[in-house]
């Protein structure tokens, strides 16, 4: 029993070291693979039937582990669609057959159909913004020209409290050639077609108790290039804006609604305006909407928002990258292409957006490197080599002993 079991033990030891060498070989081969998680071979004893007086050797069993939850080193790249996860979670990828898998290999490139695919052929999945709840392939393809109509604006001004009161017959709302005003601003709004519409906003002091008359005209109706009044059509809107005459603070009248011809109703927020004893001036003037523009580039934020940047500088949040996680990432089933599938031991998938629910954040223009450290692998290789040698010595010794036994009959 003893010698034969020693032979078997030596063989199992050699097989275990060979398996370890296999994982080391894989690790070294994948030391530069994006998103690769180091594999390791763990040993466990297998005992034989040993009595109190004799020892029957058993053997060694191996168990291959993947350090899936280990964070790889993040290195920067030049492509904005190269994504790395800093923290927990996996990208959800879909292969050509429609099967979904988890991966941390984020070297995505834009395909001709607009989807983002990594080197292993997995298409990045996410949610369509602003309110999508179905997991679908992120498509950042060019959708041609995009225009958006203006709907909200902010205009913060200071209107000189010392300005002269304009008689009601000369207010801009009267639209006569004698119309005058206290302060005027122009805002560029966009209609449904993306045509810029210049709005002439007139603010006119109508009495001494802090009331201003606000009239908004479409500049295209101006009388001539040198004089706007009288406009060919009446004001788009005329309303009053009230200030507290003693403090100069805004009191009522905002927001001002302007119906843009062939466009949305523009709401102009003027509530940050003041009426102080200083020269009339503009503090803020912003407006949304944009002229038709084509897609220029895409960016990905740390929360996984995929933004489409248009040629006129307008940024539109199009998708959000989804991250998935399981209870026990290290027990995921490894498949080719740095991808993982769930099994009964790993637990089921939980989906969340980056930065929330314990998920890590996304780093754009970055890739997660392999977790393999060459020095460790080389050291392990030495120990595997020596272990294999030692096992073969055991085998050789047992073989020699058996040979001696066989030769007893001959002599």
């Amino acid at each position: 029993m003893g010698l034969f079991s020693a032979l078997n033990t030596a063989v199992s030891g050699m097989a275990a070291q060979a398996s370890k060498l296999g994982t080391i070989g894989d690790n070294i081969a994948n030391s530069s693979t994006t998103g690769y998680k180091r594999a390791s071979t763990e040993f466990e004893t297998l005992l034989g039937n040993s009595g109190s007086s004799d020892y029957s050797s058993g053997g060694v069993l191996t168990d291959v582990r993947y350090g899936v939850s280990t964070q790889g080193t993040i290195t920067s790249t030049t492509s904005s669609t190269d994504l790395a996860i800093s923290g927990n979670g996996f990208f959800v990828g879909e292969d050509s057959s429609g099967a979904q898998a988890l991966t941390r290999a984020g070297s995505f490139t834009k395909q001709s159909d607009g989807t983002l695919m990594n080197t292993a052929g997995y298409t990045l999945m996410g949610y369509q913004l602003p309110s999508g709840s179905t997991l679908q392939a992120i498509n950042v393809g060019s959708t041609g020209l995009v225009a958006s109509a203006s709907s909200s604006a902010t205009l913060s001004v200071n209107l000189n409290s010392a300005a002269d009161v304009v008689a009601s017959g000369s207010l801009p709302s009267a639209n006569t050639s004698a119309s005058t005003y206290t302060y005027t601003q122009q805002m560029t709004a966009y209609d449904n077609l993306g045509t810029p519409i210049t709005l002439d906003v007139y603010m006119t002091k109508s009495d001494t108790s802090g009331d201003y008359s606000v009239s908004v005209y479409n500049h295209s109706g101006a009388a001539s290039s040198t004089s706007n009044f009288p406009y060919s059509s009446s004001a788009l809107t005329t309303t009053s804006l009230a200030f507290n005459a003693s403090t100069g603070n805004y009191s009522s009248g905002s927001p001002i609604s302007v119906t843009i011809p062939n466009g949305n109703t523009l709401s102009i927020d003027m509530s940050k305006s003041t009426m102080l004893a200083a020269k009339s001036s503009t503090t803020t003037s912003t407006i949304d909407g944009s002229a038709p523009a084509s897609l220029k580039s895409i960016t990905v934020g740390s929360d996984g928002t995929v933004n489409q940047v248009y040629s006129n500088g307008v940024t539109k949040a199009a998708y959000q990258v989804a991250l998935a996680n399981v209870t026990s990432p290290d027990l995921l089933t490894t498949i080719s292409g740095d991808a993982y599938t769930t099994n009964s031991e790993s637990g089921s998938i939980v989906l969340a957006t980056p930065g929330s629910g314990g998920m890590g954040t996304i780093q754009s223009s970055s890739l997660e490197g392999s977790t393999v450290d060459l020095a460790t692998e080389l050291t392990d290789m030495i120990s595997a080599q020596r272990g294999y040698e030692a096992n073969s010595k055991v085998l050789q010794t047992a073989s020699d002993l058996l040979g001696t036994l066989n030769n007893i009959r001959v002599s």
Partner: protein
């Protein structure tokens, strides 16, 4: 962590170092570029100690805005000052005289209307003492002609200055429109760059240089929006650029004469200059030139007209018989004769002439000055010398007295409101000189402010060569250190691999 990580950190460090060196070299290249702002390469360490470089641009909004406003102020002061320098040739002060204004009696210098008027007064006195002396009469007449043509020439000069100012406004408007359209492209590039996280510092430099150039034409204020775009307003608040440029329109006037009103500069229907403007431009060359064209020159022209109307009034011929013949322009006349001009009548200085009836070279007679019937020799009612005496001096004496009698002038003209004609002409010269010296002083101090603002901005955002070179030295050291690290890792791997053999 392990040797592989060490290697990749060292590699990233080398890359970051190279990027920083690029920034330093860019800074050194821009050391003599006034519009260049220093780039700052800042290192940020990501997880695992991997360094990355982000490039920012040093800026100082307050100092830059101060530079813009002082540039505009300097330009408007400079425009006014150059215009007044041009007007000054109407009084022909020598440069030495203008340098010592306080000590020199300006009214007696050069060929100003005041000096010629003084000369005329002296000639009249001499002629009145000997009315039968033709040579003295001729001298008096030529002084009168010199004064009239001086007023004509001065008036022409004033209108030339106005025309030049008008042309300069047109050029400034063209320039401003070109700058605004350039701004569109830069603004879009900055907005797009901000959205994509690209390096926009070159665009920001360009934007600043456009704004600086624009501030020369007109005073501007800017606001920056959250997306990085910028809106430009005039210093009075009229929108020049809000997502798209507004067109500035101005039609130059072809001919300027006394009384011509130049056109206003209009931004999308909102006048920013001229009397109808609710929100008038306060600074920049357009504001300065408009002030010159519409205020200073008009005031000076008015003063010349006052002198002219004073002359016509003093030398007017009136009914000597106590009859009802109307008072008519005498020695000094104009195109509207025989009606008397109103005080400071528009266009009078340009039109004033010496009556041909008194000029022997034009078929007239010197004796008519003596007799007082220059305006209408055929009407005996105007003849004071009924006896035809050759030595008749009453009329000339009366003229001399009238010339030295106080008159009332337009109080709004800038010069004295009342006084003798000579005193008024003198105060006109003083007014011009005072305006000119004030404008020059303002222009000089505004230029000094621009220099100071430029220096402060350059100190704050410019490139300091010493600083850059010492940074370069640091970078060189850290580059060698990173390279050393790599070679150490290499030799460590070497020992590991040799251990296997």
């Amino acid at each position: 962590m392990g040797l592989s990580t060490t290697l990749s950190i060292a590699q990233a460090a080398l890359q970051a170092n190279a990027n920083q060196t690029t920034v330093v070299s860019k800074n050194i290249a821009g050391v003599n570029d006034a519009g260049y702002s220093r780039r700052i390469a800042s290192l940020t360490t990501q997880a695992d100690g991997i360094p990355t470089v982000t490039v920012s641009r040093s800026s100082n909004t307050e100092l830059f805005n101060q530079l813009l406003s002082s540039t505009s102020d300097a330009q408007s002061a400079d425009a006014l000052s150059s215009g007044l320098d041009a007007l000054e040739q109407t009084v022909n002060l020598t440069s030495s005289a203008s340098n010592s204004e306080s000590s020199t009696d300006k009214t007696s210098v050069g060929t100003s209307p005041a000096a010629l008027l003084a000369s005329l007064t002296a000639a009249l006195t001499s002629y009145a003492a000997a009315p039968d002396n033709t040579a003295l009469g001729q001298a008096f007449l030529s002084d009168a002609k010199a004064l009239a043509s001086k007023l004509n020439a001065a008036s022409t000069t004033v209108q030339t200055v106005r025309k030049q100012a008008d042309t300069d406004i047109a050029n400034a408007v063209t320039d401003a429109n070109a700058l605004l359209s350039q701004f569109t492209a830069v603004n879009t590039a900055i907005v797009t760059g901000t959205a994509t996280g690209a390096d926009i510092s070159d665009q920001q430099d360009k934007r600043d240089s456009i704004l600086t150039a624009l501030s020369k034409d007109m005073g501007i204020v800017t606001t920056t929006n959250v997306d990085g775009s910028m809106s430009i307003y005039t210093d009075s608040g009229v929108t020049l650029f809000d997502r798209k440029p507004n067109t500035i329109t101005f039609s130059p006037t072809t001919t300027f004469a006394d009384g011509t009103t130049g056109n206003a500069v209009v931004v999308a229907g909102i006048p920013i200059t001229g009397s109808s403007s609710v929100m008038p431009l306060a600074s920049g060359s357009i504001a300065g030139l408009t002030g010159l064209r519409d205020t200073t020159t008009v005031a000076y022209q008015n003063q010349l007209n006052q002198i002219a109307s004073g002359l016509v009034t003093v030398f007017a011929d009136s009914d000597q018989t106590g009859g009802s013949a109307a008072t008519i322009p005498g020695l000094f006349t104009y195109s509207g004769s025989p009606a008397m001009p109103s005080t400071g009548q528009t266009g009078l200085a340009a039109a004033i002439t010496v009556n041909a009836n008194a000029d022997p070279s034009k078929g007239g007679s010197l004796a008519r000055m003596r007799d007082g019937n220059v305006g209408d020799p055929t009407n005996a009612a105007y003849n004071a010398n009924t006896t035809g005496a050759a030595a008749f001096s009453t009329r000339l004496m009366a003229l001399g007295t009238a010339l030295n009698t106080a008159q009332t002038f337009d109080a709004t003209s800038g010069a004295a409101a009342s006084g003798t004609l000579a005193a008024y002409a003198g105060s006109s010269v003083s007014w011009l000189e005072a305006s000119r010296s004030t404008a020059t002083a303002t222009s000089t101090s505004a230029s000094a402010l621009v220099n100071q603002a430029t220096t402060s901005l350059s100190n704050s955002t410019g490139v300091n060569l010493d600083d850059q070179l010492s940074q370069m030295l640091d970078l060189e050291h850290s580059y060698s250190a990173s390279a050393e690290l790599m070679s150490t890792v290499k030799s460590m791997f070497g020992s590991l691999i040799s251990a296997m053999q």
